[in-house]
Homo-oligomer: 428 residues x 2
């Protein structure tokens, strides 16, 4: 939790810097709200027992509840973040940060705005967060659902096979092109020629230049949809240049992302220096979903949305593997109030009360007569940097012996100066 | 959420000041873990549907999961806080802060320590939190389960009626003594004489002096249990005097608290100035429960615990009723980056990127050419204090026009000085 708190703080600071507010939704939704939103994965939804009343399920992600919340409250504009747990009846894989109960961490911008401005801000946010968390080098892949669909159309994929071919393309980060092609042709019944044409496109990576080249491409330019997507990618890169983040962003035609509800730009961040031992896949992903809110509105009113989800469990698992357990403090205690002799409990209680009232984080041992050595040992173990030692002599002189745990340096401080001295030494 | 965040921060700051770490437990527990811990209220537990695998229920409070966690991980010493949601299939009462899903906010000290030192710290914490939240005057009632049991014994209550008589006494904050007595005699079959004797005791309130008087009381002093409780109350008051909090603490023999698992000191804080419109009952409560962890340990090893639960939903509902909705800001944005003329989107994006990178909380409107008036209006509505206005002239002069929303004052600031000027004006 101590490691997690640091990650949360970095991320929340970033979301707030971008003017987001936070909302909260219940951990359960009506079962019908979740039905038909997650395709095959619906079997992983946890249902509550029917004990009378509405049929309920535990939320599966934060995006569907967000869309339901916007429609229900008739909200047409909001920039919000939501960090909360979601639930999946899946096989856990602890080392890869996959659990049945896990945090999601979403930032979304809902509203009818000019093209690519909120989308670019989402990518800026991913860039800021991954930089600040210092997880090593990363790349943010960008694509557009309309480019994928246009590409499938001009390559001769039948309309009703777009989704299934798309989910095969999505496997390119784990499988070779040869195996992906085999699946397309043998399992999904695509012609070899169409597959080869797709193969040419999905090997392309670049920046604004690639978008320009594809706008001139004699095949791709036949698709209106693809052209709309490519123009937006150009615009996106223009904004990203102004944000100085294009060094990490790649326009990658192989990026597909599984979820059905995306309608425009999609993106995914991966760590490029990830070692084998901490292989974690993508650490952030998201995109534009302009149709989801309308599914919950009785009149089908659309609220365009774009968002990003930070893969916080994966980030936790990297941070936890990096951190040396000895060095992670689980509290922020600044000082221990200790005694050198017996029968000084009352004096300790009085002093610690003064410290608490002054906002100092302080602990004492819950014993009438603890040994000085065991009090000092406790400080070493818990990483408490200072000890205020009370003894008969100190009480007589109106001072406290302040001991620095790391250096064992000891110095007498008058009671009047103690609080400012503790602050000076621990609130750097 | 904005109001809630403030309350959380105050409470967490206090818990951390007292050296607590935080833990997290799953929202569901094995059904059998919760079985038999909540008496009659067990019917309010939410069960998950049997979809294969273990039978699970949603947690009902944070205390039972904490005890289960200690036993499972063989932890014998910890000071922890846990703020999380719990679930009850109850009839909601929104205005009184009672929901089916609600936050609990617990602080507990587990470990074998010298008497009343951690117990006194729990009361100090309640005192600090209620003071800081500024909810008006309050009282903390204190009693001890052993004093109640001893009192029942010396008043002639049969052993097997202790619990049921105790839960009738617990109603004294809502019912008159006459009605409580009727319930004891008519419904629970207690003799009128025993009831009258109880009536005499439960009308007693005081401080350390009352504990001393009762230790001399010819009836009460016959109960070993009562004497142990009374001696601890004396000790507790001694420590509370050193903490300077006795002005708010009352030893009140009518305080019973429902839960079965308490074994020693119990306490409850109430607001004394609560108006009729915001009647909320107790805002904090807790006590010592030395037997609960042992129920989860295969060898029955005991880990003594004392804790306090802050009634955070009730506090939210008071704060929300107090707050004027116009004045609650839901974001912390310091500045809006605006333009006075058309075609300055790129310049706005460049400037806001610089501000974000410098840690400034900033927003812009997601439009290519927003009107200045609508940008200023947005600031008024969202409570954003500053606007950085870009225009042709400002760009030529290398300055930004900084506008203070409240006073409409405008001043040209050089780009080099902008960040420090924003910080100076908004980070008071």
């Amino acid at each position: 939790m101590a490691i997690r708190e640091k990650v949360f703080n970095t991320i929340i600071r970033c979301f707030k810097r971008h003017g987001a507010e936070t909302i909260d939704t219940p951990v359960f939704e009506l079962k019908e709200t979740l039905t038909g939103k997650y395709g095959e994965d619906s079997k992983l939804i946890y249902d509550l027992k029917d004990q009378g009343g509405e049929l309920l399920s535990l939320r599966y992600d934060l995006t569907v509840p967000f869309a339901r919340y916007l429609a229900m409250n008739k909200i047409t504009n909001i920039k919000r973040y939501h960090i909360a747990k979601v639930y999946r009846r899946d096989n856990p894989a602890m080392t890869r940060g996959r659990y049945r109960e896990f945090y999601q961490c979403d930032f979304d911008i809902a509203g009818q705005y000019d093209a690519m401005i909120p989308d670019a801000e989402c990518l800026k946010i991913v860039h800021e967060i991954l930089n600040e968390l210092d997880l090593g080098d990363f790349r943010i892949k960008v694509n557009d659902r309309r480019i994928l669909d246009g590409m499938f159309a001009v390559c001769g994929v039948p309309d009703d096979k777009f989704r299934t071919i798309c989910s095969t393309v999505d496997k390119l980060d784990k499988m070779s092109w040869e195996d992906v092609k085999k699946e397309m042709v043998n399992e999904k019944g695509l012609s070899e020629e169409a597959a080869d044409q797709i193969g040419e496109y999905v090997s392309m990576q670049g920046g604004m230049d690639l978008a320009e080249r594809l706008l001139q491409d004699h095949k791709m330019s036949q698709s209106k949809q693809a052209c709309a997507g490519l123009s937006d990618i150009k615009l996106l890169f223009k904004y990203l240049q102004l944000f100085h983040v294009t060094d990490k962003v790649v326009f990658d035609l192989s990026l597909a992302r599984g979820l059905d509800y995306y309608t425009g730009v999609i993106y995914e961040a991966v760590l490029t220096q990830a070692e084998e031992s901490v292989s974690v896949g993508s650490v952030a992903g998201g995109g534009r979903y302009d149709g989801l809110v309308g599914m919950f509105d009785p009149k089908g009113r659309r609220v365009p949305c774009v968002g990003v989800s930070i893969g916080i469990e994966r980030i936790f698992s990297i941070m936890e593997q990096k951190a040396s357990p000895q060095k992670v403090r689980t509290t922020e205690v600044q000082i221990m109030v200790a005694s050198a002799q017996k029968n000084l409990l009352e004096e300790r209680l009085q002093l610690i009360s003064e410290l608490w009232n002054a906002g100092i984080k302080a602990e004492l041992m819950y014993k009438k007569n603890p040994k000085l050595l065991s009090q000092l040992q406790y400080c070493e173990e818990a990483g408490i940097p200072l000890v205020a030692i009370l003894g008969e002599q100190e009480l007589k002189d109106g001072v406290v012996k302040l001991r620095v745990v790391a250096t064992r340096e000891e110095v007498d401080i008058s009671r009047a100066d103690l609080i400012s001295e503790i602050k000076r030494r621990t609130e750097a």
